[in-house]
């Protein structure tokens, strides 16, 4: 099919307003939140219904045209990077909240619905949607699902995958399936939903998503504690969690981050080598009791200052400072590279030391802001794009940092995803066999590899291939089953 014919076919499905094909307009979609990879897609389509998504995918399948789904485009690993000669399916017009079912604690939404809208929709009933990535005021539920987004409160409440209960999915061959029980638990069969959530848009497109909502906690208490350095702050983190408390959030910022945040949003943070924000929520009696324990642990770890949020306003100020951290780097550096790695919590101290050494070795500043409770680091490598070679150096340093995470038993990514950005690192964490077996799943969902190709796996497998020796089963020999 020529490009002109494809445009016509898509216009037939979507009308002329639903198809973007002029080059200057296509440029808007050349990258997602990770801006160092750019590809101009052949075509951008803007469906308004699940049926249209199905028809688009069907057309792509019939014609062998690759496609990429995109929500709000805030992803940080290039997961929604378009493919050349491919179609970019933008889901921002599928933004209806279809159903609110309080008795069963469920909300059914379309993929373009913005994360925060879900909580806003059910707030009056005393409920909220727990996963809260920093991007929650702009990122879409469909994108959250694809990336299995985390957030500051996932230490206690889990990730997107723990809150998506069902999905209507358009598979890469255009067929539609409903996976996960939705409102009913434990659907028979494989846990396809668990495999689908976090598959970075490579297994199909979710067109209806059933989310779990939770009752708002009775009490929320938040404090800010200042320490001499990240090591002492880390000691407090271990002490809190070792004491059997599961806080709603524990976030750490180092001095460089504090400096940047102060310049940008002036939350009035104390001067310190490291800051912790600790939040507890739950029943009043429990929170009160455990909050005292948290304060005690901070004191034992020589906190120079402990500030308890007196009201919602002060709490919001603490969080404003934390959530502004990435953006605030602009106030102390021309450019920065956001890294996302995970280490076991007990390795935090050793890893931070190695990051400091690397920073010195490369002559580049690294700011650390992270979800300390679950060991999810977000080192920000500061550099100047105008200085020759510095951008490459920064990327190399960021790469070294994830290798350190792996050496200490951690992971390449805690919430941003592998996408296009970290494909090259996958063999450092997984063997060829590991990745081949993962791709068996890909082959079951997308045998022609047209759904978001060129992401996650550095070496794509042809789906006819099979790793390892293959022997025909007698059932096959007898002609009772086919080879697949």
């Amino acid at each position: 099919m020529y490009r002109g014919q494809l445009i016509e076919a898509m216009q037939e499905i979507l009308g002329p307003e639903g198809v973007i094909h002029r080059r200057e307009e296509l440029r808007t979609y050349e990258c997602d939140g990770l801006m160092n990879y750019r590809v101009i897609p052949d075509l951008v389509v803007l469906p308004e219904s699940a049926e249209q998504v199905q028809q688009i995918v069907q057309t792509c399948y019939d014609e062998g045209i690759p496609f990429v789904a995109r929500g709000s485009g805030t992803g940080l690993s290039g997961g929604a990077l378009p493919v050349e000669s491919g179609v970019l399916i933008v889901l921002t017009r599928l933004r209806r909240i279809l159903e609110v079912d309080i008795p069963n604690g469920r909300v059914v939404v379309e993929p373009g619905v913005i994360n925060i809208w879900v909580s806003q929709e059910v707030a009056d009933e005393g409920y909220y949607y727990a996963p809260d990535p920093a991007s929650q005021i702009v990122s879409s539920i469909g994108g959250n699902l694809a990336e299995n987004s985390g957030g500051v409160h996932c230490l206690k409440y889990g990730f997107t995958t723990n809150h998506v209960m069902g999905a209507e999915v358009v598979l890469p061959d255009g067929s539609v399936v409903h996976i996960g029980g939705g409102k009913a638990p434990d659907a028979p069969g494989y846990e396809l939903l668990g495999a689908f959530v976090g598959s970075e848009g490579t297994l199909g497109i979710a067109t209806k998503i059933t989310l779990r909502i939770l009752r708002k906690p009775e009490a929320v208490r938040t404090l800010l504690a200042a320490f001499k350095d990240t090591e002492e702050a880390g000691g407090a983190v271990s002490g809190i969690i070792g004491g059997g408390i599961v806080p709603a959030a524990i976030e750490m910022m180092d001095s460089l981050t504090i400096e940047a945040v102060e310049k940008q949003v002036s939350p009035g943070f104390p001067e310190a080598g490291a800051l912790l924000i600790v939040e507890l929520d739950g029943p009043e009696a429990e929170v009160d009791n455990q909050f005292e324990h948290v304060i005690k642990v901070c004191e034992e770890n020589d906190a120079s200052e402990i500030r308890v949020a007196e009201d919602d306003e002060e709490r919001a100020l603490f969080w404003k400072g934390r959530k502004a951290a990435f953006g605030a780097m602009g106030s102390i550096s021309n450019d920065y590279y956001v890294q996302d790695g995970v280490v076991p919590r007990t390795e935090l101290g050793a890893v931070l030391k190695k990051i400091a050494d690397l920073s010195e070795e490369y002559g580049l500043r690294v700011a650390n802001v992270f979800h300390a409770g679950d060991g999810n680091l977000h080192p920000l490598v500061l550099f100047d794009n105008d200085a020759p070679g510095e951008a490459e150096k920064a990327e190399e340093l960021a790469g070294e940092i994830v290798f350190v995470c792996l050496e200490h038993g951690g992971s390449l990514t805690g919430e941003h995803g592998i996408g296009r950005d970290k494909m090259k690192y996958m063999p450092q964490m997984f063997t060829t066999d590991d990745m081949d077996v993962m791709q068996l799943l890909r082959c079951a969902f997308d045998p022609h590899r047209i759904c978001n190709p060129g992401k996650i796996f550095p070496t794509p497998r042809l789906c006819g291939e099979r790793p390892g020796p293959f022997h025909m089963h007698p059932v096959q020999k007898a002609g009772l089953a086919e080879n697949f």
Partner: protein, 426 residues
Amino acid sequence: MQTQNIPTEELQGIVGEEHVRESSAEDAVDGVRPSIVVEPGTIEETGEVMKLASREGLAVSPRGGGTKIGLGNPPRQVDLILSTARMDGIIEHVPGDQIVRVQAGLKLQDLQESLAESDQMLGVDPPEEGATIGGIVAANSSGPRRLRYGTVRDLIIGIKVVLADGTVAKAGGKVVKNVAGYDLSKLFTGSLGTLGVIAEANFRLHPIRETARTVFLEVDDHEKIADVTQELTHSSFSQFVLDALEIRWEGDRGVIAALFEGIEPAVEAQSSVATEVLRSHGETSVLGEEDGEEFWESFARRPWDAGDVGLKIGAPPSDLTAVLASVLGAAERAGVEARLSGHAGTGVTFAGLSGGEDGLVEVVEEVREIRIRRSGSVVVQEAPLTVKERLDAWGAGGDYLGLTRRVKEKFDPGYTMNPGRFLGGI
């Protein structure tokens, strides 16, 4: 069925002579007796055994504690039972990270005892005694506390599997937060050994809670049960957090029980609010930690005995009244005795049925028909072979059946693993 040629000596060469034995009658899976039982001691040996089995066209059934060996449809063929009994170690437990890595053959009870020394636990509590970690993952077993901790899928963070062709592969890792690669840990959860052998699993752990309180209410009208459980879950003043919310119905009386765990002042505050809610419905009792433990031991048991039909019904929690009514109504019409229990907070109901075979089949078909219309499910978890021959254990499956089959055929193209036991004849 054609008898397979069993390469006993080669198997002995892999795992050692003493770890290969002829099967006995107890090794049968729903009446299908295997030829041989093999107990590999390592993941490498497991890989070699699988390679050999695939080469010889042997059907393999992995087995842990054997507590769920009757789950699913009768297998089309079983030649070799692959027992994980010797792979029963804790590989790594880091209390500070609240994670554990274990081998599949480890018994849950042994794991919990070991973790308790560090005041930690794995948040799964299936009622079957002697269940192994591998079996719990494969069968996706759960218990009352799933209301708080979720099910295996919510707690598993990494896995190592051996495929039918002997390939050893891992996914996930030992950190709780991790989105690198596909989440095969979840895919293998509930796969009933049909995708490969689960050899190792990693989990996030939780602190053991300081104390517990159980509050329960007796009722004599099954229609009242759902009102009470909904009120407990949603009432505007019930701001407490429930660890479990369970029900039982037997004869003409029922019990609703709520469990609160945590630190003393919180448990005290929450359980007294709950007591107040329950008192408005009838006589309410409160149990402390020790009495509560005894209470839950019997209360959490499945409502069936050997020889009965046991159903697991999945429905939206707000449909509880309809679920109870449909089972009790169908049972009465068919002259079958029905007992019920369930996780009211999450929408899982168990039904134990005893009576004549025709009546049993009738009840299952009727209840299943209603549930499937409402996007739920009815799984036969236990039944005499003669009943199983007349019913599919899983039901028809939804529009995802084709995809399910494609997944199976990618991971196990030769149908070596547990053929026939799973959904859709997989």
